[in-house]
Symmetry: C2
Subunit: 491 residues, 2 copies
């Protein structure tokens, strides 16, 4: 463990930042609130992209690309949307610079002022629905099932790498349907895709539900979400899927002729996840030894470190290491062989432990003689001697075991950290002393939710899907309630 | 052939636009100069990305991501760069909108003016080298071999879909090296990667060379490029790789300690290709029947169209079509089975011919009886009857033959369209009446090059690598010259 590295206990927030920076995931840039995603961090994002992209295509979606610029007037067309998104955003007002007449560098050319300002997209519903208007005439043009991988900008006042940055990378799905039912099914299907990805790739259990009105996407009829629990007991929204009703079709006049020849407004959904997921991944699994990455999203699943004292040993050991690398790669396992002579094995052990590589294989001269290797797993830090014969199957099983163990550990943590609260005192006590998800009764009003938020910083994370009916009283107002919702403090 | 579709002969420019729009590749957006890349066009770009990304990784590069915003002052740091790039660009001056006090929509909030304007990246050398300063201390931190997939913005006055748009998608490699030699080797290696991609994936032969000073990248010591010839005899720059010397290291103060302990400036390269390549692909191969896509970049390589008259036939034919689809897919061939009942076979034939799908398989009830299918290849429009037995190997070979034929055809065209000119009259005659590449002597001065450009619109496309020495006289000035360079009018 690095001495100058915070533990979770000492300072959870610093622990997170230390991991992001020291594991080479990202760093702050010269531009306020924007980060540089470094190669190791970007490699995790690429793994996420590949897995999600496959799921989107398997569910019938295609990728496309829409302009980064949105004319200012587009935002005013959907009343709720403009309130939610048009405020804190980057505004392009000019299209040219010129040499400063005083000779001091370059200045904005005031002659090159745009007639209408352009907004850097904070999300693309408006420009996409403006485009869909020309794509849809008849029911035969529907559904449209598109996704876009893109950068977006939201001018955030307080930023944290991956979790909340001014510019971030994401995907945004935008679909158009002939019927309300079909659009709702799509919204729920994509929520399931996200939940499946979170659980089976990120090894993070998630709750599925819908947002309260206060937390709903600006312009949506219903926002579905998945919520994960971080190790400090705070919740993190890991993905949202919105049923937009006919709101954007009405705002942008997108109609279709039904089979019966009637003109009807199109039904819409949108859904997205972002580089925020990398932040969730870090906070869900990492420990006081550094980053822990689940095998399915690891930039490399195995690192091999050769150990030797002289050139003769080096040749022998590195040759064996290459053979093992080849055999693992033939199994589809990604392997980094670090045979650099400029760093010592001890340094490499620390480095890859900190970077959360799932499996480390160390191989020295005696190992070559015995046809063995030393295998260390990152999740439990346990070491074991493996025979080289059949190494590929053993490592494959080990990677599966690590993936499964990380999920089970996160699930157990969430279960331990999920409470029922029936009184206000209980509710506040759990928030202040334990953290986690709190199942509590709520009277269903935005006003109560707002007051709870003001007094405790806790919000309704979701109203569970298939909620269990249970008569009770709102923990805040005491008014009657017929089911529990999930509260937490959140990122 | 669609009746309302221009031929190349009639109107080459309209022919190009018709293909882009009618094949569903892209369309103009509501934002001036920006296009919407539609799913079919984006699928070609995704195929390009996948092939290039693999090549970049195979040559040791990793992906990363840097902010889209560049502080204005960064541009002033490299003298040539600012002249080339800081002029026509999108400038962010504010970070907030507010409700119009007069109740008319939303307006820019003048209280939210940025202290320093931000430029939307037209290219990322400046922000990246500002970052590299903190990454490099010693020779052990080198080389840095990074690539970024990103959107960039250049405020173009005249735009054409794919070929020149205000916003476009690209990749930009940015590498840092300890020695000049290593940086030059990298520059040339990436030029070879681009040439290999152009020839083996896009089926487009390219010339490799360096740019004259006039055409050099702003901030580069040497710009290498690949140039392709379009069917109208105009050249298209299909990729550039720049040796940047120590220019950006000096501008951003990026130094490293050599093994001998001396502080030295870092050597740099950058290289990029963009969505412009989709435009090149269209113009190189397509014909008066529509788009033609080489099999290696086709969104789907084979389309299967079932033909039937009643439900009984439909069931039988579609079942057989599914079997063929499965067998082809097992071979790694991408297949679309269009079993939609809402469109007739004739409509589908036209549609996929226009979209340039390399191979079309039609299957009717008699085919099922005979265990045959009708196979049409898009490049020659020839049809043939294939036995279903062994269909996967036959189609695989056919796809290879199409890929190869497209390349050979483009190569033959380029060879026919490459001329030597020894007098000004010859030179102008070829430009006006034939088009193509012209090998001609040039006196080596920027002034002559500029005059030739003003009088003929032709530019020096490149100075060939491994140029053949040959004494001659400049076609314009008559001054002595020792080798020929390649002129053309260009996109």
């Amino acid at each position: 463990m690095a001495k100058d590295f915070s533990t979770r206990e000492e300072n959870y927030s610093k622990w997170y930042n230390d991991i992001v920076q020291r594991a080479g995931l990202a760093e702050n840039s010269a531009v306020r609130g924007c980060m540089v995603i470094k190669p190791y961090g970007y490699a995790i994002w690429e793994k996420m992209q590949a897995a999600l992209d496959k799921k989107f295509k398997d569910t019938g979606h295609s990728n496309a690309y829409f302009p980064i610029f949105i004319p200012k007037s587009f935002f005013s067309k959907e009343a709720a949307h403009v309130e939610g998104f048009a405020k804190e955003c980057a505004v392009v007002t000019h299209y040219r610079l010129k040499n400063d007449p005083d000779g001091k560098g370059i200045v904005v050319d005031e002659d090159a002022k745009l007639e209408e300002e352009l907004i850097i997209r904070p999300t693309s519903e408006t420009i996409i629905w403006d485009t869909y208007r020309n794509w849809v005439q008849s029911y035969r043009d529907l559904p449209i099932l598109l996704n876009q991988w893109a950068n977006v900008v939201r001018w955030e006042m307080r930023t944290r790498m991956f979790l909340r940055t001014t510019e971030f990378l994401w995907q945004e799905g935008h679909t158009a349907h002939a019927t309300e039912l079909e659009a709702i099914e799509e919204t729920e299907r994509m929520l399931d895709v996200y939940a499946d990805f979170a659980e089976n790739f990120m090894a993070i259990p998630v709750l599925k539900g819908t947002k309260s009105v206060n937390e709903r996407f600006a312009g949506a009829v219903e926002t579905y979400c998945i919520e994960a629990l971080m190790q400090d007991g705070k919740a993190l929204q890991a993905g949202t899927s919105h049923f937009l009703g006919q709101n954007f079709a009405k705002a942008f006049d997108v109609k279709f002729a039904s089979p019966e020849g009637k003109l009807e407004y199109v039904w819409a959904t949108s859904w997205g996840v972002s580089t925020r997921l990398v932040g969730a991944l870090i906070m869900a699994h990492s420990d006081d030894h550094g980053l822990v990455v689940p095998p399915k999203l690891a930039p490399y699943q195995v690192v091999i470190v050769p150990i030797y004292k002289n050139v003769e040993q080096q040749n022998m050991v590195v040759e064996k290491a290459r053979e093992i690398k080849d055999r693992l790669e033939k199994k589809g396992i990604s392997v980094k062989l670090d045979d650099r002579d400029t760093y010592k094995p001890g340094w490499k052990f620390n480095e890859y432990e900190f970077k959360g590589v799932p499996v480390r294989i160390a191989i020295g001269p005696r190992d070559v003689e015995n046809d063995t290797v030393e295998v260390a797993r990152r999740d439990t830090l346990e070491k074991e001697i493996f025979q080289v014969a059949d190494i590929e199957n053993k490592v494959e099983h080990l990677l599966e075991a690590i993936q499964s163990n990380l999920y089970q550990k996160a699930l157990a943590f969430r279960e331990q950290s999920t409470y029922k609260a029936d009184t206000w005192e209980e509710f506040v006590d759990i928030l202040d002393n334990k953290g986690g998800f709190i199942l509590a009764h709520w009277d269903g009003t935005a006003e109560t939710e707002q007051k709870i938020k003001e007094e405790t910083k806790a919000t309704i994370r979701l109203i569970p899907l298939n909620v269990q009916h249970e008569e009770g009283k709102c923990i805040y107002s005491g008014n009657p309630s017929s089911f529990r919702v999930v509260f937490a403090r959140a990122y």
